[in-house]
């Protein structure tokens, strides 16, 4: 017996429309946990999610969900849940009926109970008896999520799930997704909003112009970007003395003194963080604060997009 197939495996997948390439030779594998699919508008995020959910055929390459092809394989929907981007709902169904419909189409043994539980998970009990046609954007988004996870899928694919959700709902949805991930579910969500991905995703896939620009933990990605210096902000008892001492260290490119703040640029993240305590002690300076300035996903992202 070989090892069990990973939940999602994407091997050299491309997709083009006529002569427009939407996804260009992308490979990755995903396991349990939350992964954010990040990219500017039009980068190919939706195309990727649609291929994973079996609603687009890859033009080239292979795309496997639990080792099976996602294309022309309705059986796989037993194990995956999809939250599409469009807000469409059946306006005449109530929220409860909409989730119940999903449960019945999944042929669950006790659809009523499953629907009630899913609605409770997205905290929509109060509105469950109302027609979805009158729902707000955030409520539609939540009822769609409830319908997608009514059968407790092993993989959950969400296309821009936080659109239209207010900050409180966003937090609640994030907590719920984290809880699912903790139970070993594989969750992939797309977003063009960095803050969402940064707060929720353990791993990121950055897609730029149809190509996979980076993948993994974004702090790790940052460390790989050696051609761009890391910048640290330092506050210490004597910035000027520390600056003088640091310039002597081979890992440091440059220093800059601004009022009350010392900015240090370095090419080697690890070497620098190891060296600085020793340098400071030797110079007789105490460090109050040492902070990398651009470790946010935003700086990583703008770097990848502009490259």
């Amino acid at each position: 017996m070989s090892a069990p197939a990973p939940p999602i495996a994407v091997i050299n997948v491309s997709r083009w429309y006529g002569n427009i390439v939407a996804v260009n030779d992308i490979s990755f594998a995903l396991g349990p946990g939350i992964t954010g699919l990040l990219g500017p508008n039009g980068a190919g995020k939706s195309t990727m999610l649609h291929m994973l959910s079996g609603f687009l055929q890859p033009s080239a390459g292979e795309l496997r969900v639990f080792g099976e092809s996602a294309w022309e394989n309705p059986g796989m929907y037993r194990r995956i849940g999809l939250v599409p981007e469009r807000e469409a709902v059946y306006p005449f169904l109530t929220g409860y009926e909409f989730v119940l419909l999903a449960a019945q189409l999944q042929r669950l043994p006790n659809p009523e109970e499953a629907a009630r539980q899913a609605i409770a998970m997205v905290e929509l009990e109060d509105a469950a008896g109302r027609a979805t046609g009158g729902y707000s954007k955030g409520m539609k988004q939540r009822v769609k999520i409830a319908a997608a996870l009514v059968h407790d899928p092993e993989i959950l694919l969400l296309d821009e799930p936080f659109n239209g959700a207010d900050p409180r709902q966003r937090l609640q949805m994030m907590a719920m997704l984290r809880e699912m991930a903790a139970r070993g579910r594989t969750i992939l969500f797309s977003s063009h909003i960095l803050e969402e991905v940064e707060r929720l995703a353990e791993e990121v896939l950055v897609i730029v112009a149809g190509r996979l620009a980076a993948s993994g933990d974004f702090r790790e990605i940052r460390k790989l970007m050696t051609d761009r210096p890391h910048t640290f902000n330092v506050r210490s008892s004597d910035n000027r003395a520390l600056a003088a001492a640091l310039v002597a260290d081979p890992s440091v490119y440059g220093v800059e003194l601004q009022d009350g703040l010392l900015q240090v640029r370095t090419g080697e993240f690890a070497a620098f963080t190891l060296a600085i305590p020793g340098v400071a002690r030797q110079a007789g300076v105490s460090i109050y604060e040492l902070r990398p300035t651009d470790e946010s996903l935003e700086s990583v992202f703008s770097y990848l997009v502009k490259r």
Partner: protein, 244 residues
């Protein structure tokens, strides 16, 4: 067939406003039959068969009702973007097409059959029916199935199924079939009229379809099976629209 899908489709197709409008629509042939009887004419059998049933009901009402229900059952789900919810479920595509087809067929046949039966009874009040009532009742039920299957396939094929269906019904079946006799083999209207002839027992002067009975039954069966097959095949390979 899937009970959940059937119930969902029935609720989609039979919204209150639409049902009321369709019942009014079904009243039109009945009203015409009443006016005809009131005016009192000499050849009620010929009128009931060739004018009321063949031209008005089978030529116009049946294809229009089938166009409404046949393209809406699946087509409206593509247009609204709700198709994803039924397609992202572990249900064979065949079951989706057949369930949607069943509901649109029953809805079409229900409206048109009611109109046919009532209008024909009124038109032939006190006259020998000679199979006209049963023949056309059977024909509209069978024709509804063929039309619905055809239009459902169109709705999976193109987002403008309604317009394409209209061009088919009123240009192809309405005009071109009259100009070129061979086209009758590719006209659902002619199949429907041929099926009516299996029961209708009147002289050719009263009602004379252009296809033989057996040809009509065979072609109707083949068309239904083929369009259902093509719709299922197309749905299996359905791709989500880019900007939709």
């Amino acid at each position: 067939m899937n009970g959940t899908l059937i119930r969902l489709t029935a609720r989609q197709l039979l919204g209150q406003k639409r049902t009321v409008l369709l019942l009014l629509f079904g009243l039109v042939p009945v009203l015409i039959a009443v006016l005809y009887r009131v005016a009192g004419n000499d050849e009620p059998q010929r009128w009931a068969a060739s004018a009321l049933n063949a031209r008005l009901i089978i030529g116009t009402f049946l294809p229009l009702a089938a166009l409404v229900f046949g393209t809406a059952a699946l087509g409206s789900e593509f247009e609204d973007g709700t198709a994803v919810y039924i397609l992202s479920k572990p249900i064979p595509r065949r079951v989706i097409v057949l369930s949607k087809l069943l509901v649109s067929w029953l809805a079409t046949a229900g409206v048109v059959l009611a109109a046919t039966v009532v209008a024909t009874i009124i038109a032939l009040w006190g006259e020998p029916r000679d199979g006209i009532l049963v023949g056309f009742a059977l024909a509209v039920v069978a024709g509804a199935l063929v039309y619905c299957a055809l239009f459902m396939w169109l709705s999976v094929l193109t987002s403008r199924a309604l317009i394409v269906g209209l061009l088919y019904v009123f240009i192809w079946e309405g005009v071109i079939t009259r100009l070129f006799a061979g086209v009758r083999f590719f006209s659902v209207r002619q199949y429907t009229l041929g099926i009516a002839d299996t029961v209708v027992d009147v002289p050719a002067r009263v009602f004379n379809p252009r296809l033989g009975e057996m040809e009509a039954v065979a072609l109707a069966t083949i068309t239904t099976a083929l369009t259902v097959y093509l719709a299922v095949r197309r749905l299996r390979r359905w791709e989500i629209g880019e900007a939709s």
